[in-house]
Amino acid sequence: MSGLEILGRLAVNVGLALLLAPLFEGVLRKLRALVHSRQGPPLTQPYLDLLKLLGKEDLWGARGAMAAIAPAMALGSALALAALVPMGGTPPLGGTGDVIVIIYVASLSAVFLMLAAFGSGSPYAFVGGSREMMLLLSVEPVMVVALIVAALKSGTLITGDIVGWYAARGPAISMVVAGVAFFLALQAQSGKLPFDIPEADQELMGGPLVEFSGPRLAMLRWALWVKQMVFAFLLVELFAPWPRLGLYPVDLALGLVKTLLVLVVVAVVDVVNPRLRVEQAMGYYLRIAFSAMAALAFAAVGM
């Protein structure tokens, strides 16, 4: 791709991630309200929340320097992931080792959230941060296995090529299993019940977020919404790339619709579940990781 095209796609990816993520969150909130038998906030409520927070005082207590920059870095790394994820076509930033880079960048946002938590100076944030760490350690293997399967089957590490190959080939058992595993991991990555353990406000007063206010809180929330949208997009592009018409705007629109559908399912699961304890969640994801190995086995024998 030419430099201009790259810049253009970069703008589209990052712009969509930044600007549409709150809308998707709004849809999820409305869905939640529907299940709760109440009216719910308007679809644009997350935008209004962000606007409100951006205008508020940024109070800080015993926060360290790392915690001060962590929110911005968390948002930044989520947007960096958006730049690596294919949206409707080849991702703007890519190279020969795409899948590996994605694996690392994917956990960056969570790492910055943890740094924010540990630097907050609050015991609740500390416990929240350690729970985030435990959850990340259990969810990572699932994601990694799924992505390795995709890379193995397609024979390439370049995400754009993987998408193209899968779109042309049609479904494969190993890819389906890997896709299901990735989808289950999505529940924890989006911080949705039954896995919203780090931010459990009933137990930890908001966990890692408890010491943040104003613009920094806005950035942390925004980072979480971008993360959930981008991960869902990665899921649909890698594991369900059909229909693919080859036209960039159309494929992009289709991708957005599929992402929304995936997030709706995530929200429905969220609303009919209580929160699990962190060791229960870890046990659950370890079992998934082992089952996802089956996908590796399938891939190895060529299925």
Binding site: V127, Q202, E203, R277
Partner: protein, 570 residues
């Protein structure tokens, strides 16, 4: 009446005999203030022996009442109240303590459930319980001076002593190797603030300490100073927002017992209907809160949706969604017309159906069960030891219920069916409450069917004589509430003591949370359905240095001012 009055009488005689055998002439007197109560005057020197007699007979500790009877020439009265559930008898051991000494042997070593009650009479009356294992302050504020005991008759109800810093009780130290996680003073899961100090190793709890009572409203002091008999039920109703009617019924019943007034049958049935209605709404509310605590907001929303018509019904019957204001001494103030009764039946039929659907749905929900099965276990022994009451007791295999043990209102005619589980975990308490909900609907239907005609209030033609005792218990949704009344001479009570059901239940929390995870503490405490006063303190734990520092109000203000000035905000 299914209660054998003869059986109760026999029990009273037997207890008197046993006490006489054990302490001989130290039993200074015995009388029965009303049919189901035995009051024994005991020499304070042998209080532990007397209590031991009762404990051997299987008596359950209720509460201790500290009364300043110096104006009556009888020193400080310490009354230990027990219940012999099987014989439907209250036993009050009355010790007159010499005001010059102002000390009495603590019974907590014999009856662990009396822990808080003895600390409380030390705070309120100033009689020292000797030998108490934990003699810290319980309910007085952190800046209340030593030597001023609010429930003494010479302290005015609106007296404000000068603020004395540093009177806060010492927090219990954490065991070696454990760090401290504070839960409170403000905490999202607890509807009223409370302060728990959890001693944790990793995510496992190894112990806990509780400080409460900062929102103590001195209702008992009001009861013996500014309130008349007519007004006490209204203030009693405001002891609790969720189970207010229980308290107003209980104090009316205590006053009626003391004065020898009998509420007419129709009034008793109406009280039963409203009591059970309160149980229905309270259990639905609790189900929602329990769901909220474990993150299951949908359960909260849906159970409260099911509950809302019950609130509208209450509004139609009593004039308000809560604090019905329907009780008065001698009966009730409002009637339940046949039209209202018809409406009740319709609403409650719908509620019954919807609750059954919810129960079916959540009964097989494995994620919900994963958070509630095996969590917060209270063994039967511990429940008996700490005299736990209500659904937590019944969920641990202790089959006590004030409606069956000391029948009141119309429960002798319409006995409730108890739900008793053995596991003692959070899920068992959920099951008990769901069963009780279904049974309440049945009782309301039966009461409406059998409602006798007649007047709503007894005619009270005489002044209520002074120096009479009345003891009444009512089964609140949370457990048994106890009201003890001693009548005074000028249309006021001389002493009015209230024990809410959460009082003994909270004392059992350390046993329930130890060994569990931090994540389980909110649901464990929540499964008691606590209705408790709040605390207000801030505790800073130095996670790195392992030290604990308590900040006083002034220090906090200074810290905040310094930070705010230093550019702590933009």
């Amino acid at each position: 009446m299914s209660v054998s009055a003869q059986g109760t009488n026999d029990a009273a005689v037997r207890i008197k005999g046993l006490l006489k055998n054990r302490i001989g002439t130290a039993l200074l007197g015995a009388e029965q203030p009303h049919a189901d109560a035995l009051r024994c005057l005991v020499d304070p020197a042998v209080v532990r022996e007397a209590v031991a007699v009762l404990v051997l007979e299987g008596a359950r500790f209720l509460i201790t009442v500290g009364i300043d009877e110096r104006p009556l020439g009888r020193g400080y009265a310490i009354v230990h109240l027990f219940s012999l559930d099987a014989e439907h008898l209250f036993v009050a051991l009355h010790q007159a303590v010499d005001p010059a000494e102002a000390r009495i042997a603590a019974i907590t070593p014999v009856v662990p459930a009396a822990g808080w009650a003895e600390r409380e009479f030390r705070d309120a009356i100033g009689v020292v319980p000797e030998g108490h294992p934990d003699p810290r302050r319980l309910m007085l504020p952190d800046d209340w001076p030593e030597g001023t005991y609010p429930l003494r008759r010479d302290v005015r109800y609106d007296f404000r002593p000068p603020s004395v810093p540093g009177m806060a009780p010492e927090p219990r130290p954490a065991p070696a190797g454990a760090s401290v996680i504070p839960m409170g003073p403000f905490f999202p899961t607890l509807e009223e603030p409370a302060h728990w100090r959890l001693f944790v190793e990793g995510e496992t709890i190894v112990g806990c300490d509780y400080r409460g009572f900062y929102n103590h409203r001195a209702i008992e002091k009001l009861g013996d100073s500014v309130l008349s008999y007519d007004k006490i039920p209204f203030v009693a109703e405001r002891i609790c927002g969720i189970c207010g009617f229980i308290h107003s019924t209980c104090c009316c019943q205590a006053l009626e017992k003391a004065a020898g007034i009998e509420a007419p049958a129709r009034a008793r049935f109406i009280r039963t209907v409203m009591l059970e209605l309160e149980r229905v709404h309270s259990h639905l509310l609790w189900l929602g809160i329990a769901g909220h605590i474990i993150g299951f907001e949908t359960v909260l929303m849906q159970t409260w949706r099911i509950r809302e018509p019950v609130m509208w019904l209450s509004e139609e019957i009593s004039g308000n969604r809560k604090t019905y204001g329907m009780n008065c001494v001698g009966g009730v103030r409002r009637d339940i017309t046949p039209e209202l009764a018809g409406k009740m039946r319709d609403v409650l039929a719908t509620v019954g159906r919807e609750v059954a659907a919810v129960r079916k749905a959540i009964g097989t929900d494995t994620t919900l069960l994963a958070r509630t099965r095996g969590v917060g276990v209270l063994t039967r022994d511990e429940a008996v030891r700490m005299a736990v009451v209500g659904p937590p007791a019944r969920a641990s295999g202790v089959a006590i219920d004030a409606r069956v043990d000391h029948p009141y209102a119309a429960y002798a005619e319409i006995p409730p069916r108890l739900s008793v589980q053995q596991e003692g975990d959070v899920w068992a308490r959920v099951v008990v409450r769901l069963d009780e909900l279904a049974d309440s609907l049945r009782i309301i239907g039966a009461a409406l069917d059998q409602m006798p005609a007649g007047s709503l209030r007894a005619e009270i033609t005489q002044e209520i004589p002074p120096d009479r005792i009345g003891i009444s218990v009512v089964e609140a949704p949370r457990g048994e509430a106890v009201h003890y009344v001693q009548t005074g001479g000028d249309g006021r009570a001389y002493r009015w003591r209230v024990r809410a059901p959460t009082y003994p239940n909270l004392q059992a929390v350390p046993a329930m949370v130890t060994g569990g995870a931090i994540a389980d503490v909110p649901i464990t405490v929540g499964s008691l359905d606590p209705c408790f006063s709040c605390t207000e303190r801030v505790e800073a734990i130095d996670v790195h240095g392992g030290g604990v520092r308590i900040y006083s109000h002034d220090e906090l203000l200074a810290m905040w001012a310094a930070r705010a000035g230093r550019g702590g905000s933009r």
